[in-house]
């Protein structure tokens, strides 16, 4: 009984962990591409520049030099209560919503001084991470 209960509980526990992880992984995979495309910079500079900026960010922040890590950071940024509060009707899981929220996060970064200067570009930390993700996924 105890053993059975343990197995059931363990199974439930494993499922409790595995399902969000799987969902998270699915979410990561589906969001990695749109997250790695800085929208504003895409309008004003070429792909090579985005890659250079991304490489410069990775060189300066080696602890973030992994796609998963960057995706997590960007999702966390877009999931921020502040941004969800601004757009409560949207789930953070859909990419359009995430990108819209990232746009808000980028503006907030600038307003709060969360900026980095990379290859001369004065950028928000969020969009610099987007460049880094683009750079890593297009190596």
């Amino acid at each position: 009984m105890k053993r059975r209960k343990f197995i059931l509980l363990a199974g439930a526990g494993a499922a409790a962990i595995a399902i969000p992880v799987a969902l998270r992984r699915h979410r990561h995979n589906s969001l990695a591409k749109p997250l790695g495309q800085p929208d504003f910079l895409g309008h004003i500079c070429d792909e090579a520049t985005v890659r250079e900026i991304g490489a410069a960010y990775c060189a300066r922040n080696p602890e973030e030099r992994e796609e998963d890590k960057l995706v997590s950071l960007l999702i966390a940024t877009s999931d921020g209560d502040e941004h969800r509060a601004k757009d409560p009707g949207k789930s953070a899981i859909d990419s359009t919503g995430v990108l819209r929220q990232l746009d808000g996060a980028i503006r907030d970064d600038f307003a709060a001084g969360r900026v980095v200067t990379l290859k001369g570009w004065v950028l928000s930390v969020t969009e610099a991470r987007q460049c880094a993700l683009y750079s890593l996924s297009h190596q």
């Binding site: 504003f40 910079l41 309008h43 004003i44 500079c45 746009d103 980028i106 503006r107 970064d109 600038f110 307003a111 001084g113 900026v115 200067t117 290859k119 001369g120 570009w121 004065v122 950028l123 928000s124």
Partner: protein, 511 residues
């Protein structure tokens, strides 16, 4: 009336109520204030009525330290002075320019902007400027096509500039001077020495010489030196027979704190749309006003930076721009500043296209004050000119604060564009480099000679008092940008004319 001092009998004594030395914007602005008054005003011009090489050579000198323009070609020695190659850029100083800023050593004037405001308004017609209006909102109300990229906010604001034709003082005011009954203009009248009384407490006479070998004496109740920051300092330092260090130089301040504005390409502005940016772009001969982006007083205080502004030029036009330090290299002022027919034509065509179609990439140019620095200075060289006066020597010295300030200005402006979601700023490589002690080879000034006889109520910290009188000398006054304590972010001409009018009023009140 006008007299060529070469035609006077040798050793002529010229006497008057007021003697103004120099006929540039400072000297002529004051002279015209005294036209048709009962006072006999002597106006001395060292050169002639037009450019002459041998007269210009009297202004030659060496430079050391940070590379500077050839001294001889950075100012002009004939009637109308340096207004003869003036660009016409005008804006008022900001209130903070006059403040003692704790983060900038040697800052702080003994006067406030409010003391100059009435004189700015009077200076406008003298310089052929439009209304004395420096609020961007009011310009926008008159012309809705003037749109700001960034609205004024607690970090960045739009500083209004106006453009003179530009006024050539000799051409504009020469006819009135020649017709005047009480203004006595003497050309070829170089002041080579100022003689004080025995107690060295007042000026007794000026010695003037010319290349024709004539020497004359000028006596006036009051004397105003208005020959520019280099020559004002040079004359005081060279008048050292009665005062070992030169007149007005008991505290070793004359010639120190030489400043110019740093004027350099610094960053790029990238917009996601094309825009003619009528509010910001300048076309020579067409533009009457524009805005430059400035950083608020609060941000300057918080970041401990100098006052500077950023102006815009479309990238295509900027790409054919040669930095002044690389194009203004001849000692002959007549050989500099010529763009060339085809390059000029190309620039005008690009400007025309950008004005109508707009552009999305812009070069950002900095104009920033130089930190007051006692080691940046004019001294006398060991070599004399043809009239026996020691030549001036400029040691131009910058500090890391200038570069750090420039970088911070663009980071702050970049933040504002990002926050507004309207653009991104990209610093040029040299500004991203954290070594603030070095400068790129195109680092240069704006031909603005400033600060060699600085103003202070305390004789220990300044050469002149708040009324531009030299400390310790009862009747010697200084006019021009040599009086400035700090250089501001604006070009000096409007402010030096305003300050000269203020001095003129002060002397009139004293009778």
């Amino acid at each position: 009336m006008h007299t060529d001092a070469r035609t006077l009998p040798d050793n002529t004594l010229i006497e008057g109520d007021l003697c103004i030395v120099g006929t540039g914007p400072a000297g002529l602005s004051i002279a015209m204030e005294w036209n048709n008054t009962p006072y006999k005003v002597i106006l001395l011009e060292g050169g002639g009525m037009d450019y002459e090489e041998k007269e210009q050579d009297l202004y030659d000198g060496r430079t050391t330290g940070q590379p500077y323009f050839p001294l001889k070609s950075s100012y002009l020695h004939y009637f109308g002075g340096t207004s003869n190659h003036w660009g016409g850029f005008c804006s008022t100083f900001d209130e903070l320019d006059f403040e003692q800023r704790g983060w900038i050593p040697h800052s702080g004037w003994p006067i406030k902007k409010a003391d100059l405001d009435p004189f700015y308004a009077r200076a406008h017609p003298i310089l052929d400027l439009g209304p004395c209006e420096y609020n961007a909102d009011n310009w926008q109300k008159k012309d809705p096509a003037l749109k700001t990229l960034l609205p004024d906010n607690p970090i960045v604001w739009n500083k209004v500039w106006q453009f003179s034709a530009p006024t050539r003082f000799g051409k504009k005011y020469g006819p009135d001077v020649k017709k005047s009954n009480n203004l006595h203009l003497y050309s070829y009248a170089n002041v080579t020495e100022i003689r004080a009384n025995e107690a060295v407490s007042a000026i007794e006479s000026l010695t003037i010489k010319n290349l024709a070998g004539k020497q004359h004496t000028v006596k006036a109740k009051r004397v105003i030196l208005a020959c520019g920051a280099i020559q004002n300092a040079r004359i005081l330092l060279a008048s050292n027979r009665q005062a070992q260090n030169g007149l007005g130089n008991d505290k070793d301040l004359v010639g120190r704190f030489f400043m110019d504005h740093l004027e350099m390409k610094s960053a790029y502005l990238h917009l996601p749309f094309r825009d003619p940016l009528k509010m910001y772009l300048y076309t020579s001969g067409r533009t009457k006003m524009r805005c430059e982006m400035a950083v608020s007083r609060e941000m300057q205080a918080r970041h401990g930076i100098l006052n500077g502004v950023s102006s815009l030029k479309s990238i295509s036009e900027a790409n054919i721009d040669t930095p002044a330090m690389q194009s203004w290299t001849s000692a002959d002022p007549q050989k500099n500043g010529h763009v060339g027919f085809w390059k000029d034509h190309l620039a005008r065509t690009i400007s025309f296209v950008d004005r109508h179609l707009g552009a999305s990439q812009f070069m950002m140019y900095t104009r920033i004050e130089q930190a007051p620095n006692p080691d940046s200075r004019i001294t006398l060289d060991g070599v004399n000119d043809a009239l026996g006066v020691p030549r001036p020597m400029l040691h131009w010295e910058l500090t890391p604060l200038e570069r750090r300030s420039m970088r911070t200005i663009y980071e702050l402006i970049g933040r504002q564009f990002g926050s507004a979601g309207t653009g991104r700023v990209q610093l040029m490589d040299y500004l991203e480099d954290p070594d603030d002690a070095s400068w790129p080879d195109f680092a240069g000034g704006g031909w603005h000679h400033i600060g060699t006889t600085r103003m202070s109520d305390d004789p220990d910290t300044g050469v002149i008092d708040a009324n531009c009188k030299v400390h310790g000398l009862a009747n010697l006054y200084i006019a021009g940008s040599s009086c400035f304590v700090t250089a501001g972010s604006a070009n000096p001409t409007l402010t030096l004319v305003a300050l000269s009018l203020r001095l003129s009023d002060h002397l009139k009140k004293r009778g």
